[in-house]
Amino acid sequence: MSALAEAEAACAPYGNEPSRCGFELSRSLLLAVRESRAHRPDLVLKFGQYLLRSHAGRLGAEVWAMYEQVYIALLHYGRRPRAAGSGAEEPSEEMRLASEYYSLLAARFPDSMRVKRLEGMMWEAKGEYDMAMADYDEILEEEPNNLAALKRQVALLRARGKPAEAAKRLAAHLEVVGSDADGWLQLCDLYLSQAQYQRAKFCMEELLLLNPMAYIHHLRYAEILLTLGGIDKGGNADLVRTARKYFAHSLDLKPRGNLRALYGLLLCCAAAPKGQKTAAEVEELGACAQKKLLEEYGEAKATSMLDTVKAMSTALLS
């Protein structure tokens, strides 16, 4: 059980009401959110605002981290799409409070790059993407290794529909810091969204090298290979065979509940060229995958699905 789940369970008897949970429980809950880097703006907003309103003095130095945490949660709720906010309407309650917090933080840490990044996020939430971009650029000029700002830029570029630019920046970053698994994953996703399968394949290979024990990396890699070797790309038996191996290995690493790999295996068997001497092996593998798939559905008591899956897999293999 994670620290966050524990803290949430501790708050549950009080009806998740911050004032009834009290100072200690609320604080430990928010600390758990911060440390697990969970995305829980709902919790942060409720408990953080209570803490900042009623117990700001008791937090000591932690109060600044709390301001930052609540600030980001406020931005999450206060943000609006650019089209809606033409500048004429009043800023929402959340944004008003957020700018109040921001001025507190900026007054306390005038030269901090971290606060500057928060300002950039404020611009983002307001839909002023150019201002946000300029802020992040300034940070990167000052500290070329500021990962948080760099990743925000990539996310921003992606959100603005400039995947090429985002990929370029991310690739430049990964050239320097090759051990950033999240970065590779993001880049892979970017390439996949642009149907650049060869490049996505390269990213996935890096991830495999980073952590060869993760079943999901094997699975994703297999899917990319299968896509590359699929019929619509002209068909490449070698790629399909390699994909099959990766699907099989992914199943080896995670035997239960790995339906994605089972379906992948079925598709591989269906895509294999017919009438060769390896046909028997393919057939056996397909039958095995089908059997396991039906077992999984049987155990989940999904009887309504059972017939559909059976018919579908039989049709695929025939």
């Binding site: 090759g178 090298l209 060869p212 239960r256």
Partner: protein, 267 residues
């Protein structure tokens, strides 16, 4: 016998304990804490250079490729090997700037940083060296419970030059030095591990520098590291781990076994 007679036990005034022994200890302790805080304040956040990060990461990546080569297809491995070890364009074959041992010295930033660090250590030390003898010299503070040869006189009886005093007696100056080096454990309890008041570490560092055993903070020669890594990568043979993945799944693989047994139990 005559020895015993000629050295009767000294009777020490209890106020020596209250006004010399304990104050020296307290002063030393507080000074240590003060020094720790001053060093902490002066230590500027060190910016890591982008080049160093890149070089280290490149090495790590090459090492990773070597260790986990079997998990990617042969073509992928070959492409990466080429990328790293190609004679002309290989990343590991690029000439790196050879580290200049004098570069650290000529860098004014580095110099002032070193000075600051040393000043934080030296100034209190010098201050104490003046204060302690001025106020507390000339006291005999205690006696160690075992006899020692006269050659220890210089160490244990600093500040009191009495040729007839038994070597087992300790003077205030010696107590000061003892306290200076003996409080490391106490600091690490009070200030937490990794505090900067560690005199012995500083001494060791200086000794190491004198012996030419590599300066702290001096960068290693990446040309050599790269060459070694490139060589290692060249001789790495690619052995695909997944070549038998399907057989493992079909026959006697763990996945199959578990399901079959689970089935049998339920039936």
């Amino acid at each position: 016998m005559s020895d015993q007679l000629s050295y009767p036990d000294l009777v020490l005034d209890p106020s020596i304990r209250d006004w010399v022994l304990i104050p020296i200890f307290v002063i030393m302790f507080l000074m240590g804490i003060l020094r720790n805080n001053v060093t902490k304040m002066m230590r500027s956040s060190e910016k890591t250079k982008r080049d160093t990060v890149q070089q280290n990461n490149l090495l790590m990546r090459a090492r990773r490729l070597r260790a986990n080569a079997g998990w990617v297809p042969a073509a992928a491995f070959a492409a990466r090997k080429h990328h790293f070890c190609d004679k002309e364009k290989g990343l590991l074959m690029q000439k790196q700037d050879a580290p200049n041992p004098m570069a650290a010295m000529s860098d004014p930033n580095m110099m002032s940083k070193m000075m600051q660090g040393n000043m934080a250590m030296m100034v209190p030390q010098m201050l104490m060296m003046v204060i302690i003898p001025h106020f507390f010299s000339g006291f005999v503070l205690g006696k160690i419970p075992f006899p020692l040869t006269p050659s220890f006189k210089g160490m244990l009886q600093r500040g009191v030059n009495l040729s007839t005093l038994d070597t087992a007696y300790i003077t205030s100056m010696s107590w000061y030095i003892l306290a200076m080096f003996g409080m490391r454990g106490l600091y690490s309890i009070v200030l937490g591990a990794g505090s900067t008041t560690d005199d012995s570490a500083l001494m060791q560092q200086q000794m190491g520098m004198a012996a030419g055993g590599g300066q702290p903070g001096q960068q290693p020669d990446y040309n050599k590291l790269y060459a070694t890594e490139a060589e290692n990568l060249q001789i790495t043979e690619h052995k695909f781990h997944l070549s038998a993945a399907e057989e493992k799944l079909l026959r006697g693989g763990k996945a199959d076994g578990v399901t079959a047994r689970g089935k049998a139990k339920r039936a």
